[in-house]
């Protein structure tokens, strides 16, 4: 019978699973997330994997991690510092130790701490034995051995048994945090239905882990994190790239025209292509092109022919697409360009997150070539902003940038599934009338008509040379050129009338305003609530629209004496605010391939406002 344990109720917990690339940590993490979501917590995840496909076992650079933050309150980030680390081998311990909260719990697979692995992790002495982990609550578990014991009698190779130990670890964590095994069992049945021996092995390992917690005395306390009070509704867990893909399908549905993706694989954008390639029965066409230039060019062709055309990439790929994006500007065709940002410059840190392509999106084309820019703030917000990017592209006949980033793309959070009918329609009115047609006629939005090949009587020619106002023929007339340059500029500026104002969160009469964009949203939000709890008066605005800025931007900015702009670049939004509003801002820049910790923002604010601001 189960013993009695102290059960401690916590508000929130950050846990990180870490092991070799081959140890299945991403899977373990997703299963824990899944169960936790079903359980009703709010949560937020951050996978972190190496650039190598399968780095040799045991190496430091081969460590793969999955961090998960769950809570009974609403949360916005994957957590600053883990409360719990599950370390499958010495390398995983070494790589992750510095990130842990003081006094954190470390669950270690002690069987992996042999001399070979210690050496691979560059440990001269076994850290489990030299007292170097004194400040932590270290729990040694013979994970490999216990798993092997649990699977005795099954027809499995040693390798297969080793591969199952992540489910033992998962079971143990389920026990510790008082979560049900059932969701994972169901998943295993779906996954291994046709391979009964693997199904049994994984289930056994999972249960064995759970009961290991129950029956041994390694843990003296169990933790309980109550469900969060989320808005009523049906939820699912969603990653940023999934949300982006689904957002596009939704827009295609609401616009009533087929979706066309022209793309070339690149980390961390590739999953959007993967996702969309599944949706053939939604009429989604995915074209894996020979390179990024063909990706965007095919999308431009598809747009000319009347499809909702998108192209997806990351920084280096965007650099290649810029010439063609200029063509979309000149031909005024709808097109959404997704840039899932990663660490730059050049190949940079391909698997790490960053938000350093804003100025490239803004200015990275020859000539005066304005393109609207929107950016998602959380994984599920990728859905909203993908939809929004399509709406703007179609309504204003323009290419539009959607900026997300590795951290949002791979991270996930619960998403309140919207009602399909609640989404706005996106009206598409292909031009039909021969009498009135002119290729560069303008409507109230300054948009030109979309007249697609196949429509009788509207035959016309477009291209990259300057166009005559209204007629769309090639024009070398000096005044027309300037007129059209200003027209394209005005059209993009006009979108301001059609996007939401900035909303100020926190203290309206704050001493300091934090202005941020993109994936920095969560860290800033958490920092702001923490600061306010501590008695600081701070406010927050978040830019989801970066070109044009929301209409009330200047007004909002002018209300605050000090503006802090935290960015994971050297100050790109700062530059844009300065050039647009001539506003001095305080920069907080971090470019380390990972999101801000909310504490980093808090500390910065405290150092600006001074301790005495606390009331």
């Amino acid at each position: 019978m189960a013993k009695d344990f102290e059960v401690q109720v916590l508000e929130d917990v950050t846990i990180r699973f870490a092991g070799d690339s081959g140890d299945g940590m991403q899977l373990t993490g997703s299963q824990f997330s899944n169960t936790t979501a079903l359980f009703g917590n709010d949560l937020n995840t951050l996978p972190d994997y190496p650039a190598e496909i399968r780095a040799p076992a045991g190496t430091l650079y081969g460590v793969s991690g999955f961090q998960l933050h769950f809570s009974s309150l609403e949360i916005q980030t994957p957590g600053d510092s883990p409360d719990v680390l599950v370390a499958m081998n010495p390398a995983a311990l070494k790589v992750n130790l510095k990130d842990l909260k003081p006094g954190a719990t470390i669950v270690v697979n002690e069987n992996a701490f042999d001399s070979k692995n210690l050496k691979l992790a560059h440990y001269d002495v076994n850290p489990l034995e030299d007292n170097s982990l004194a400040g932590f609550n270290v729990i040694l578990v013979p994970l490999s051995k216990q798993t092997a014991a649990a699977l005795e009698g099954l027809q499995l190779s040693m390798k297969d048994i080793e591969r199952t130990k992540n489910f033992f670890a998962l079971g143990l964590m389920y026990w510790l945090f008082d979560r049900p095994l059932e969701p994972t069992s169901v998943w295993l049945e779906q996954k291994f239905g046709s391979k009964p021996v693997y199904l049994e092995a994984n289930k056994k390992a999972l249960t064995a882990g759970y009961y290991y917690g129950e029956n041994t005395e390694v843990f003296t306390t169990r933790y309980h994190v109550n469900p969060a009070k989320l808005e009523k509704g049906t939820y699912r867990s969603i990653s940023g790239n999934e949300a982006t893909a689904i957002g596009f399908v939704a827009a295609s549905h609401k616009a009533g025209i087929p979706l066309f993706l022209g793309s070339y694989p690149i980390t961390p954008a590739t999953e959007i292509l993967h996702e969309l390639s599944k949706f053939k029965n939604y009429g989604v066409k995915t074209f894996q092109a020979e390179d990024e230039i063909a990706g965007v060019s095919s999308a431009i062709g598809a747009s000319f022919a009347g499809n909702l055309a998108i192209t997806t990439t990351s920084g280096p790929g965007l650099a290649l697409k810029t010439e063609a994006i200029g063509l979309a500007v000149m031909t005024e065709l709808p097109l959404v360009i997704v840039d899932v940002q990663r660490g730059g410059p050049s190949t940079g840190l391909p698997t790490k997150t960053e938000q350093s392509d804003l100025l490239q999106a803004m200015f990275g084309r020859n000539g005066e070539s304005p393109v609207p820019i929107v950016a998602a703030s959380t994984p599920s917000d990728c859905f909203t902003m993908a939809f929004e990017a399509c709406r703007i592209a179609i309504k204003y006949m323009t290419p539009v940038f959607l900026l997300t980033e590795g951290y949002l793309a791979n991270g996930s959070e619960p998403w309140k599934i919207p009602d399909v009918d609640s989404l706005p329609e996106i009206p598409v009115n292909y031009w039909k009338d021969k009498e009135t047609y002119q290729p560069y006629l303008r409507d109230d939005n300054l948009s030109r008509p979309w007249a697609i090949p196949g429509t009788p009587g509207l035959e016309h020619r477009i291209g990259g040379l300057e166009k005559a106002h209204i007629y769309g023929t090639v024009s070398y007339i000096p005044e027309n050129h300037e007129f059209m340059i200003r027209m394209r500029d005005a059209k993009v500026k006009k979108i301001q009338d059609d996007i939401p104002n900035l909303e100020v969160l926190g203290d309206k009469d704050a001493d300091l305003l934090i202005a941020a964009w993109g994936g920095t949203y969560g860290s800033v939000s958490e920092a702001v609530s923490n600061l306010r709890r501590k008695g600081f008066k701070v406010a927050q605005v978040h830019f989801k629209y970066l070109n044009p800025f929301p209409k009330n931007t200047e007004e909002v900015l002018s209300k605050y004496k000090q503006i802090l702009v935290p960015e994971r670049n050297l100050g790109q939004l700062s530059k844009m605010l300065k050039m647009e509003f001539l506003r001095e801002v305080i920069q907080l820049n971090k470019v380390q391939g990972s999101p801000f910790k909310s504490s980093e923002i808090e500390n910065k604010v405290i150092s600006i406002l001074g301790g005495n601001n606390v009331n």
Partner: protein, 347 residues
Amino acid sequence: MSTKEVMEKTENVKLTAKDFATNQDVRWCPGCGDYSILAQAQRISPELGIPREKFVWVSGIGCSSRFPYYMDTYGFHSIHGRAPAIATGVKLANPDLSVWVAAGDGDLLSIGGNHFIHACRRNIDMKVILFNNRIYGLTKGQYSPTSEKGKKTKSSPYGSIDFPFLPVNMAVASGATFVARSIDRDPKHLQAMMLRAAAHHGLAFIEIYQNCNIFNDGAYEPLTNKETKPDHVVVLEHGKPLIFGKNNDKGIRLDGMNPIIVDLTKGEYSVSDLWVHDEFDSNPGRSFVLAHFSDLKDFPAPIGVFRQIQKSTYDGDLFAQLDEVTKMKGKGDLAKLFRSGNTWEVA
């Protein structure tokens, strides 16, 4: 004639070449070979049984790339080298369209080489017309990837040191299913090739030898001059032997895989010894040997259809797959998609 007028006419009468001409002034140099190509395109278009609004001409940048401005169809004068990629998007968006690419040798084979070979590989159902003047015309005369080695141009004052591509080879090697060659100065032949290309289902490529009378005048002089043409051109016709020469006095036979010119007047060889052209052979080796004539001394330049084979098209396969998956899974339901994976209720 305005677009409107033409349309009104269409509803009653069969279109003519003139209906495919826009009211734009044609801005090529007087005497440019592009005029002839345009004329033939306008001439064959009404013959194809395709409504005018279903034609789309896509081009990149170059003198030849102005082509779409002069065809009163849908047109896209895009950016340098990208026409095949843009045309791919057009075709995949709407497979009902008849998609044509007009491209120069620089546009298609220099900056656009990759898109070209990949379009051929995928066998997208489009027509690719190469205006091969062996020079960069629009930028005023630099050697191109089809210029002969040693050519003196503004960027190669001491002679270029690049070997040229054989465009036919590139098309065949990358999988084009219809490959032909013609000459601007032979309007009848050119028309015939265009009609054949139009009728082909899959990627059809025509290399047209085109004279740039400003920067590379006379590049094809021996092939177009009435006197010298018979000795410098061999016309490929399916099932017919390779005969050329002023008096049809020369033939080409194969010794193993190697072509040899034979004299038909000497009695040693007769027509029945000659290589008989087979357009439909799936073996690409044949086309390569023909294209390779350019590298051989005294060999005539073949014009005509090098090869026409049948393969499924990318666009055909794409739409078939869309249908298939839809049949298998049912038409996509957005609400279902939103709910895919695990969901849970918060009450």
